[in-house]
Symmetry: C2
Subunit: 339 residues, 2 copies
């Protein structure tokens, strides 16, 4: 028997009807496969929040909240007042906040990783979002940060983000990879009204044409350069390194899934390491998950980002691993199996 | 402003777009309403597993597992080897196991609540399942057990069950209250195959006719007497007492929802205290939830019982309460709100 079959046999031997733990059984199997073990374990689960600003957001055409909120929310993370602080604290998850490119000068003493590539990207409705150098620098930094956390004993990781305007970037990436009409990819983000949504779609249609996003010859790195964000490029590097290190990756929502599409384009094996935390309420996410053939753990109607979906999924993942390791088998418990 | 409006204002003032925490926002509001507080708290969450045998299961017509498994699983609970042990331990949830009427003589020294009404119900395909006295005794005992746990400081409770054959009883209760054809109410339980499912439906059709279950004049207590189980009658009492004590009730799956339908028939206010943990994979449960106008938190494809769905939902409920109490507001964090 290969490992997959051995894991399935172990799962089916537990004191429960076959399949009765539903998705948890699939997760347990996947965790075992990622760790190449019949007894996978979750060590020091961690969430990294990458923050970055988007030049296009300065004009307010794609975002109901002002760009300054990105920096304000980073300060909120530092003070422990955001949703991701509450959830990571509750579930015993480590949290690292990274300034990947916020348009604000943070005090050097703040307990964040200071990895600013630039003070926000350029407005991609007028030109490219970042230079090739910036893109490479961001990817390398993302890899480096994950490796440090891995070296500290973490084997399970999720990535969140903060960046006013970044659902637009994610929608354009989705548009490129899925070829779905932009209208299917663009959502209300943090809460655009009908008029704001209309302007958002128009603005992004213009950007999609400018950057010829329907051409399949565009490389993943070119896509980041043309319409990406620093937090997304850094997250792409983080995905690549986490997969290389055989970490279990808990994929958050719309933005994280977009960065994952880029990472997958660079390394197709990456999906083997990924669990999908939830289906976001951001309208494009469901179709994005379908494209990735992903089955999300949770459907809580959330659309907040920050890695909050990943945080809520980690206790479920731990439950899956725990039942695999700690439940009795029919044999060990002396329980009769099906007649 | 009334409490509901005050709670909504508090939720909307948190540093997140309005509605961005999805179902968690609704749960937070409900928790506040149940506890009549702007700052609800979860204290000593607890799950009670009621175990009981069903006379109809002795013949093996409705159940792929032999009746002896009920007692064997109670012993598995005691040894800590079942799924509910793993999840309650992981999430810091208290666990109490109750012998409500298992067809087995447990050693008096076992750390369970010994509340056996009888050694299994009578076969309701031939006559009534229990006497009126037994039914009353079970309901009273359920109330008593909840009150003790409440007095120990618990304010949040879920009910699980173990009883080979009890999906049949639940299907008949659902059939009575929803008037849906029995075929829509009966599922595969712990894993009946096509032939077993056919016999299960035939057997239950016979019982439904014998007990005139489509007559609306049948009282909730009569329904328990005719086709109920001791674990379900005790759970009915537990629901009633928990609601009376303003506890937050986390409703598990198919069996628990059936017991809740009976409790609701006795006291219509009970739903005000209930959160629905998950939508079970047992086919009738989705329609049962629709009938109850309930929005389940989780959809994990589980169909195990034991209160496992409730256990997995409790960390999400805690997350909801924690964000309400501990997240910063736009004002306190100095974050700009929507333009």
């Amino acid at each position: 028997m290969n490992l997959r079959e051995q894991l399935q046999e172990k799962i089916d031997g537990k004191t429960k009807p076959v399949g009765a733990l539903g998705i948890l059984e699939k997760i347990a199997l996947k965790a075992g496969m990622v760790q190449n073990s019949l007894s996978p374990e979750i060590h020091k689960p961690h969430i990294i929040v990458f923050a970055g600003d988007h030049g296009i957001a300065a004009k307010g055409k794609v975002n109901p909240y002002p760009q300054a909120v990105t920096a304000q929310m980073v300060l909120n993370f530092v003070k422990g007042g955001a949703a991701i602080n509450v959830f990571t604290k509750q579930y015993g998850i480590g949290l690292t906040v990274v300034d990947a490119g916020v348009n604000y000068d943070f005090d050097a003493s703040l307990p964040i990783i200071h990895a600013k590539i630039n003070k926000g990207t350029q407005d991609y409705s007028e030109g490219q979002a970042m230079s090739e150098e910036e893109m490479q620098q961001a990817i390398e930094k993302g890899k480096e940060i994950v490796e440090e956390i891995f070296n500290d004993g973490c084997n399970t990781i999720g990535f969140g983000e903060m960046g006013i305007g970044n659902t637009s970037s994610a929608a354009l990436i989705m548009h490129h990879y899925t070829r779905l009409p932009l209208e299917d990819c663009v959502g209300r983000g943090t809460g655009a009204n009908d008029e704001q949504l209309k302007i958002k779609i128009e603005t992004l249609n213009h950007a999609a044409t400018l950057h010829k996003l329907t051409e399949s010859s565009i490389s993943s790195t070119d896509l980041l350069i043309r319409i990406g964000g620093f937090e997304m490029a850094m997250m792409t590097g983080a995905f690549l390194k986490a997969s290389e290190l055989n970490m279990i990756i808990v994929v958050d929502g719309f933005i994280a899934s977009a960065a994952l599409m880029i990472a997958q384009d660079m390394d197709n094996k990456i999906l083997d390491s990924c669990l999908f935390a939830h289906c976001s309420d951001e309208q494009g996410h469901r179709k994005m998950l379908e494209h990735l053939e992903a089955e999300p753990l949770l459907q809580l109607g959330m659309r907040l980002g920050e890695g909050t979906g990943a945080a809520l999924a980690i206790p479920v993942l731990q439950g899956a691993v725990n039942f695999l390791n700690n439940m009795a088998s029919f044999e060990s418990a002396g329980v009769a199996n099906k007649s």
